[in-house]
Symmetry: C2
Subunit: 290 residues, 2 copies
């Protein structure tokens, strides 16, 4: 089966929230829980350092917490590898712990195992009284995205041309937990764009029952990418390459000015009655399969 | 590196509790968090059904919660496979959901991925005001174990002789969460015996700073195993084969009578000043490497 079909099958049977993470009401607040699996072949191009592998493994789960506006409480990491080589483990730990430190959270446990392919599974636990879901966008809201787009696409391109050091740096993206927490009181909906900007917009639109219209010229594309590619290749990279971990959110126009100035974000469009459009043309729902 | 060396390396750098699961104080109680990775080659003998794979993947994590005396709040399951075949996914879900149901907990999310070897990583979140640790055994306490010993060894033996149905049944062990919760107020220390009875006894003794002396004739060995093997093979299976998921605990002799009658357990020995002994002879610390 394709992964999307697998997810559909699972969703019919599991009490999942349909959001970036599960929401568990607990003692007057909500616990937020998420897990993510990464492995050598599809997630780490040749040249990815052990430190980057560790960093990114943690960051993907923290990004899910960020997209709910949750404060991280703890992280776990399970790791399997054919050799369990000391250099690899040590490097992965370096990266994982650095990422945790940046997000102000502790790595509290995990598991190790020996198997054919390097595999990492991180779990993040967070907490928030008011989780931001994907289904709250309202007509008239502005559509915004944090940071810059195309960071992972630029990294992939640098890996392919052998600029390994710069590529690893781009791959160690900062999880947006602090921003997510600051946006939690204002955002009507939020999602991370790990599945690509286009697919994430479609998910927001579908789950909120609205349309989303964005403008190409407003997209905050990272200069590292625009210096590498242009035209259709650039558009593909920005819209459809996944594994950028910025936050896509909607908020009432009147509240935008109240967003904490530490949050770097750009208004890229507006919530309308229907349609998922880029410059008034249909934006394809091409997903990104991990 | 050997897995034990890997764990040692990790433990020097991670804020792990050194217990079956991480303990996170939260709003007047403790959240209990654990993750476990299983994969085809080392955890599932030929003949293991998809349903058993799903069941066992969940049960290993719930067993860690049980060993802390925690009430389960939620479970996540990440699954990777080369084919993501519908029959497999469906069977794994059947097993996972049945196990969750028996433990009174919901599967609230997960992740899927495509890779070389079937791999499952479950995460369980629980809660308890008074977590039972491994380091609380006191001289004079009785040493007890729940249920019967040798269930997994008997299952492995049945898989090897082609008695697949019976083997699968043995492999779907019931996670002892209800018993763990009932023992929480009385037990001075607790651990699950997933790493084998001998190694688990050594862990309890070391972490509590005491000796543990047990008697062979008191061990509640499952009749399925005694009908298959005898002598040294039986002793090896009972003491050193891991992946039984019963609870090993200590409690003051005066409180044993107060244990809820629904908990099936056997007194197998007594906490002493020093030594880890079986019938007064040194019990080797032969671990079980998953």
């Amino acid at each position: 089966m394709r992964e999307t079909d697998v997810l559909r099958l699972i969703n019919t049977r599991v009490a999942a929230s349909g959001d970036d993470a599960a929401i568990l009401p607990f003692r007057g607040t909500n616990l937020i829980l998420t897990t993510d699996m990464l492995h050598r072949e599809s997630d780490f191009p040749v040249g990815t350092t052990a430190r980057t592998i560790g960093w990114r493994s943690i960051a993907v789960s923290l990004s899910d917490l960020a997209a709910m506006g949750a404060r991280p409480l703890a992280v776990l990491l399970a790791l399997a590898d054919p050799d369990l080589d000391e250099g690899l483990i040590s490097g992965v730990l370096d990266g994982a712990l650095s990422c945790c430190k940046q997000a102000g959270v502790q790595l509290v446990g995990g598991d190790t195992d020996r198997q054919h392919e390097l595999t990492l599974v991180s779990t993040a636990l967070g907490e928030t009284e008011h989780p931001v879901r994907r289904d709250g966008a309202r007509i008239g809201d502005l559509i915004c995205v944090t940071g810059e787009l195309g960071r992972t696409a630029a990294g992939l391109s640098l890996f392919s041309t052998g600029e390994i050091e710069a590529a690893n740096e781009l791959f160690c993206f900062p999880p947006r937990v602090a921003w997510g927490m600051k946006l939690a009181d204002l955002a009507t909906s939020m999602i991370d764009i790990s599945d690509g900007l286009a697919h994430s917009l479609h998910l927001l639109a579908t789950q909120s029952g609205v349309g989303v219209h964005i403008e190409w010229e407003h997209l905050p594309i990272t200069p590292v990418l625009t210096s590498q590619v242009a035209g259709e290749t650039l558009q593909d990279a920005v819209l459809f390459t996944g594994e950028d971990y910025e936050l896509l959110f909607t908020a009432p126009a009147g509240l935008i000015a109240q967003i904490d100035p530490s949050v770097r974000f750009t208004v890229i469009g507006k919530v309308r009655k229907q349609g998922t459009l880029l410059n008034n043309e249909q934006l394809p729902d091409r997903g990104y399969e991990h």
